[in-house]
Amino acid sequence: MNFLLRPIFFVTSGITEFLVTAGAISNLLFDSARSARRSLFSKQGRRLGWANLWLQMVRVGVRSIPIVSLVLFCIGAILALQMSPVLASFGQQQLVPDIISIAIFRELGPLVSAIVLTGFAGASIAAEIGSMVVSEEIEALEAHAIEPVRFLVVPRVFATTVMMVCLAVVGSLAGVIGGLVVARFALGMGMRQYVVHTFDVLLARDFITGLIKAGVFGAIISALACHLGLRVTGGAQGVGVATTRTVVLTIVSLIAVDLLFTTVFYAIGW
């Protein structure tokens, strides 16, 4: 009987955990939005609020630019190399830039940037906040009447959301350049032809859907990392567990949310 119940228990506990985490994340994002005004615009909070926000933007965003650009440059190049023989067999090799630009701007740019950022910033946010829990720093903040959500979560969520949108743009451009380099030097396509094709095929909505996704991805990465970091128990081991869980849960959530968004955009004809 036990072996029959075990899978059911596994599935129901998984669903429960998912719902609890999703609820906690929504709550944290709501709290962050509510605290944002106080953190960034009230006379007392803004002195530290803006300084913290700026610091996190540099840490999360600016430092990720090289790695995100490199990864997406490679992905653009790989796409060009993979698609060119298939398209060539139909005599449609000139469509390489069209496919790359749509795939990168709508889908791969935001998603791959978000996955890279999960490893780069999500894990580090979870580890940092988890260590602060272990070393009583969060309790010290509360004892000094400084709300941890306002002081720690708000700057991280805002910085990650804003910088994720910027990274998606930079990453997508790097991807298109990756495709361009391959198209020019390996496939013998003209540079001008590639650029013209790219701009001809791209519509504003391709760009906008990518940016909307990127913003949501940024909020998910930071909220999950902060949530799991703040709930660390059990010392150094707990920090390790939180970091791993952050990376795994975030990547799964990103792909699930991506599917949801793509379905919605498809349904409304975007």
């Binding site: 002195r47 530290l48 009583e136 720093e137 309790e139 010290a140 004892a143 000094h144 009447a145 400084i146």
Partner: protein
């Protein structure tokens, strides 16, 4: 000492799940005194401290600070209360990403509208008080255990608190440094006239700093009195704890504990 207590703990019970950590405890902390809460590991003394600073809520009972109920305070009122207290955590709990100077400046930058120059002067004054002026620009990772405690104390003093809470101020320090921290606490208490609540199990330190002591055992206060009263207590439990004896009711109880039950579990 005035007759109105600064803090009144009224029949506070705190449970974590099934486990009762504090069981209907009552305690008064008088204005200007240094009260030491003694107790072994797991006796509930740190929980008592966290309840008094408003970081956790009691399962039942209430805590009045200057006559105001912590239970009934809104989050804003609780934050106003927290601005009037200082807490020295066991590890110092310094923010590791900031210098000692920024650690002490943080509450001032957050809660006051003073300009940076005023804050700089105030921070340096606090650091001078704890003898840490030279380490202002150092990171917490570059400090020794005693220096971390001093820096934590300077940060606790940042908002000129009326009540200071100390969680195991001597923990992890060598005897000389521990003595230094005790003297510093006594100096500050005298200089600033603050009310102090100290949680510790270090008897040497407790005897030096206390005006009054209470002993917490298994979630209940089992004894209270001045240093002399406690030293001369005939209660075997108090006697054993104060003298750190290996034989006595505390250890007997542990030995008698439900060893067989624990060993055999649910069999």
């Amino acid at each position: 000492m005035t007759t109105t207590p600064a803090i009144q703990v009224l029949d506070v019970t705190k449970r974590f799940g099934e486990r009762t950590v504090l069981d209907a405890v009552r305690l008064d902390v008088h204005e200007g005194e240094t009260l030491v809460i003694l107790g072994g590991s797991g006796s509930g003394k740190s929980t008592m401290l966290r309840l008094m600073i408003g970081n956790i809520k009691p399962s039942s009972g209430d805590i009045l600070v200057w006559g105001k109920s912590l239970n009934k305070m809104t989050e804003d009122e609780l934050n106003t209360y927290r601005k009037s207290i200082g807490v020295l955590f066991q590890s110092g709990a310094l923010f590791n990403s900031m210098t000692v100077f920024d650690n002490v400046a943080l509450p001032m930058r957050e809660h006051t509208r003073s300009d940076e120059e005023t804050i700089r002067i105030q921070v340096l004054m606090k650091l001078e008080m704890v003898g840490l002026l030279d380490a202002a620009r150092r990171m917490p990772s570059e400090l020794s255990g005693g220096m971390k405690k001093r820096a934590g104390l300077a940060r606790a003093l940042a908002m000129d608190p009326k009540i200071l809470f100390y969680d195991e101020p001597s923990a992890g320090l060598d005897p000389v440094t521990s003595h230094e921290i005790d003297l510093l606490m006594m100096k500050l208490n005298k200089l600033l006239g603050v009310t102090s609540v100290v949680v510790t199990h270090e008897m040497d330190s407790a005897f030096r700093i206390a005006d009054r002591m209470v002993l917490l055992d298994r979630g209940k206060f089992v004894a209270s009195g001045t240093v002399d009263e406690m030293k001369h207590s005939t209660d075997p439990l108090v006697h054993q704890f104060i003298n750190g004896e290996a034989e006595g009711p505390l250890t007997e109880r542990r030995r008698e504990g439900h060893y067989v039950d624990e060993l055999l579990g649910d069999i």
